[in-house]
């Protein structure tokens, strides 16, 4: 039962990781690539780490529980640092004067008005 849950969480996390990587490859410019890099990776890490922490807790002794808490500590750490790192990169880009990729005018203006 636990194994199935762990496997499901792991697969879900890996899907997000895959999405992050493909997003980094597919999006048109530097700014939009940051979205998959910053978000999908954080959630993928949360899911995979929860899966592994669950599996570790399943052994149920003090060392295993502490290891699981440590794994969740990594998640907390990453949830503080990952957006900050993303912000640091995007800030460097803005100060370098990089122009963001935008769609051609007509479509976007119309959409916003609607």
């Amino acid at each position: 039962m636990l194994d199935i849950l762990v496997t499901l969480l792991l697969i879900l996390g890996l899907v997000f990781f895959l999405g992050g990587s493909i997003g980094i490859l597919r999006y048109p410019d530097f700014y939009s690539r940051l979205h998959p890099a910053g978000k999908l990776d954080s959630l993928g890490l949360l899911l995979t780490m929860s899966a592994m922490a669950l599996y570790t807790v399943g052994q149920w002794n003090l060392g295993a529980v502490l290891a699981a808490v440590k794994i969740m500590l990594i998640v907390v750490f990453v949830f503080i640092t990952s957006p900050t790192a993303t912000h640091a990169i995007v800030d460097a880009g803005v100060r370098a004067g990089m122009r963001p990729w935008t769609r051609s005018k007509e479509g976007s203006e119309h959409d916003l008005a609607a």
Partner: protein
């Protein structure tokens, strides 16, 4: 030329790969490394030194000389970089920027001038100035204590988990560097001045060598921590364990100080005026 370099690298890599074919198999019990001293370490290190982690016991006790000289190599490297990079000539910078704390008005003072000492309401800022970044600073403020605590944990638990003086020192040095990145070099230098980093890197090596010397004075061999039993008030086996711990602290201090000193020198191009 570039193509030639690539060819040379590839050839050398192929040679190295070819060389690995003569290596003994991974985990081969009859390999030279596994026949002479390794069995002794594996069988007896716990009962001789009371350290569960064999690597730590081998690193800091059985091969203590080796590690001592590794530490002094790091110290010497730090010293060499210091002499190479540090600029002692007092060439005043072209201009300095000062900011009024209350209003944020920035003054530029040309040709090496300084504000009078008493002007407390002005603070010096970097000439190529990155504005106050709230997100990075707050994140670093939250994360720094954890990184420092983790570094101390790595140093303290070298006996039981991977880690020890070198790793803990590197992480603590990285924490100081993180502070310097998120704030600026000036405030970091106020916290940990240049002189103190150099003293600490020498002091770390001194702790290591001094421990060995005390053993020598107590009538044992150099770095034979069992002789410390009388001073520490424990039996010789635990004395070896504690001796390893003392030595690890020395290594950690040396590595941390050398790393921070290197960062100071590199980030400020040896001037210690404005940093990264």
């Amino acid at each position: 030329m570039k193509r030639f370099a690539l060819l040379a690298v590839l050839l050398f890599g192929a040679l190295l790969v070819y060389g690995t074919t003569d290596f003994p198999d991974w985990g081969d019990p009859s390999s030279p490394a596994a026949t002479h001293v390794s069995p002794h370490y594996i069988r007896h290190s716990l009962e001789e030194t009371a350290v569960p982690n064999i690597v730590t016991a081998v690193l800091a006790d059985y091969r203590g000389y080796d590690t001592m000289f590794e530490t002094s190599v790091i110290f010497t490297a730090g010293l060499a970089c210091f002499f190479l990079l540090r600029v002692f000539a007092r060439k005043a910078p072209d201009s300095r920027l000062y900011r009024h704390r209350a209003t944020g008005i920035t003054l530029r003072i040309e040709q090496g001038g300084r504000l009078p000492e008493g002007a407390r309401e002005f603070e010096r800022i970097d000439s190529q100035w990155v504005p106050y970044d709230l997100i990075i600073r707050t994140a670093c403020r939250l994360v720094l204590p954890f990184i420092q605590l983790f570094a101390l944990y790595v140093v303290a638990h070298g006996h039981h988990s991977p880690g020890g003086g070198f790793q803990g020192g590197v992480i603590f040095g990285a924490a100081v560097i993180l502070y310097a990145i998120s704030h600026d070099l000036r405030s970091t230098l106020q916290m940990l001045p240049e002189r103190r980093t150099v003293l600490m890197s020498a002091g770390g090596v001194l702790i290591y060598a001094g421990t060995g010397l005390i053993c020598l004075l107590l009538g044992a061999q150099f770095l034979d921590y069992a002789a410390l039993a009388g001073i520490l008030g424990v039996d010789p086996i635990m004395a070896r364990s504690h001796g390893i711990f003392i030595v690890e602290i020395g290594v950690a201090i040396a590595v941390m100080a050398v790393m921070v000193s290197l960062y100071y020198n590199l980030a400020s191009v040896g001037r210690f005026d404005e940093g990264l």
